[in-house]
Amino acid sequence: MTLRRQYTLPNCNLILEGMSGEDALNPQAPMTVLLNLECQFPGISDPLVGGRDFLEALVSTVSRYAQYLLSGIPTKTKPGDGSGLDVTLAPTADHRHQLVVSSPEKTGDHTSVTVTLTTVQLFDLMEAIDQLLADGQTLPDLNLTLVSVPRRDTQPQEPLVQRAAPLAVGTSGLVAAAAVLFLVPNPEVDTARLQRSPQTASTPTDTSTPTDASTEPPRADGEPNPTPVGAPEAAASLARLAAAPAIADADTLAQLQTQLVADLQAAVGDDTFETDLVYQVVVSATGDILGYRAESDPALLNVDATPLPTLTYLPVDPDAAVEEPVAQFRVTLGADGTITAEPLATPSAPDTASAAASTDDEAAAAVDAPPLSAAIADEVEDGDRLRAMNRDLYATLRDSRDRGTLEEDLVYRVRWTEAGELVGFEPDSNTAADQVGTTPLPDLLETNPGTADTPQADFRVVFGADGVLEVSPWKGFPR
């Protein structure tokens, strides 16, 4: 007996014809064998007709498509095997849904039936299928599990080209930036400038030292410094030894010489040098090395290989001048491992030496504190003359200063004569005192100032951090 089930909805009729496999005579028996399926849409003349495989394809396709409509997440379409029945659903431009049923013919061709459904028709089709699935009396073996689409089965919403675009733009941007920056030269390090500040910090002392050939050999102030790199502290330590008195006693000198050679020998050990390295070394009365200076280029280059930097006594205050008596030696570190030292300064009469030392001390102390405390005997107060002097000083400083960048403004009080001589100056701050070497003031200072009664005035000089030089009268321009 043929069973007939019909699921009727306003826009879709699903008619199944089949029979019960168990008990053909029992009308209550469920329909287990499907013979024919007919799917009618009112308004569409041709019904969709098929068998069990058509029904199964229809159920899975409609279910998957309905889920896509609900979630908006497209799934990857599984390619059909080409032989079997293929049912596809796709949205059209005018808010409809195109149902295509392509079935294989015996000749090998595919005949496809296309039905365009509205959303409501599609829903009725889905609802008819749902009712069929829920009906226990019809095809109880047909069921459908509704599961969410796993992430890996979803179709990317953006095409691959669009997704790769940000990566491509970023990479090409990096490459372009690298190419451009490759053309930019490396910044040069101004090593000379880096070394100058500690060295010139004590220049006022140097300039003020009267040359005394009997006690002191020519010092760094006159010579071009051969140690731009590598031993700045050594140069500085020699500069600060400029005012130290020399040891004159021959016995002490011989003793110091022996001790120095022994110290160096112990520190060098078995090391050898490629060439003879010659240094000028200053030693205190107790035998400590207070400073050294390379006499030749190889000596300068290899200074770090010698024990001198480690043996040198590092002063607590590098700016303070050494006042204890010192001895000078020329030390030769021979390529064959021998170390020799010979005294440099010829010992002079102790009286003269000490006398010279004392005058040195006085002179150094005098210039360390420029005599600005003294009142000016003939102070220029006339506005025109003051302006002329101001202009004069400004022009002098502007021409002689070197344009470097400073960390902060340096302010000095400068005493300037009407004749155009720098009589004295004093820094206005600790920084200004430290950085005095970067200014032209020490060079311009008149070592032998004329009489104090020449017309003079005090000026305020500011070396601006931004490179701007400012000069103005200390007491301000007269009204």
Binding site: Q67, S71, H95, T119, V120, Q131, L146, R151, T154
Partner: protein, 201 residues
């Protein structure tokens, strides 16, 4: 035996119809929270007493244990990150199930209206007429737009996308279409499965 505390409220049995998805982390994904809130918004735009109807439906479905009241419902809906007063906490699966059942229940009651509006929309777009020609549809769209604009944070990128009336109308129609698919026999299961499309592992 004397107990000091009331027995723990058992979960409503109706929620067992929906199976837990295999999510990589606890709590609902962002899209689930947005979709549920937008569907409820569409129901409110369809039905003037929508917000009251949601609470009534919760009582009919015996979901008072989950949707305890108006404030609780509001807290659940503000897990939608597009909201102006968005909550940081994620929606729990139980809450999401309750909302799903509520949406399907209400959509089923509005089936006739939803079908009318969709048929009208189809006819208007076939004739290329503007949507104002269908009075009921225009009413729905206008209400949806005002609901959306008053409740969503206009600075969120997800909201900026809908900056014109046309885009909001398209969103409203697509929500209507989704509500229609919720009305079916298997509506809750279909909606529930679709909420986690592309999120399960």
């Amino acid at each position: 035996m004397q107990v000091d505390s009331p027995p723990a409220a058992s979960k409503p049995l109706i929620l067992d119809a929906l199976r837990d998805p295999a999510l990589p982390k606890a709590g609902c994904p962002r899209r689930t929270q947005v979709d549920l809130d937008l569907l409820l918004l569409a129901i409110e735009a369809l039905d003037i007493g929508g917000s009251q109807a949601i609470l009534m439906a919760a009582q009919q479905l015996e979901l008072q244990g989950v949707v305890t009241g108006r404030v609780r419902l509001w807290l659940m809906r503000t897990t939608n990150p597009l909201r102006r007063n968005s909550q940081r906490r994620p929606l729990t699966l139980t809450e999401a199930k309750a909302l799903t059942l509520l949406i399907c229940h209400l959509a089923k009651r509005l089936t006739v209206l939803i079908r009318q509006l969709l048929l009208g929309y189809q006819q208007l777009s076939d004739r290329q007429l503007s949507l104002e020609h269908h009075f009921r549809l225009a009413d729905y769209l206008q209400r949806f737009r005002s609901h959306f604009r008053s409740r969503m944070n206009p600075r969120r990128a997800g909201v900026i996308v809908y900056d014109t009336d046309e885009k909001l109308d398209a969103l409203a129609v697509s929500l209507l279409q989704r509500l229609l698919f919720c009305t079916g026999t298997e509506g809750p299961q279909r909606l529930w499965a679709s909420l986690f499309d592309g999120e399960v592992v």
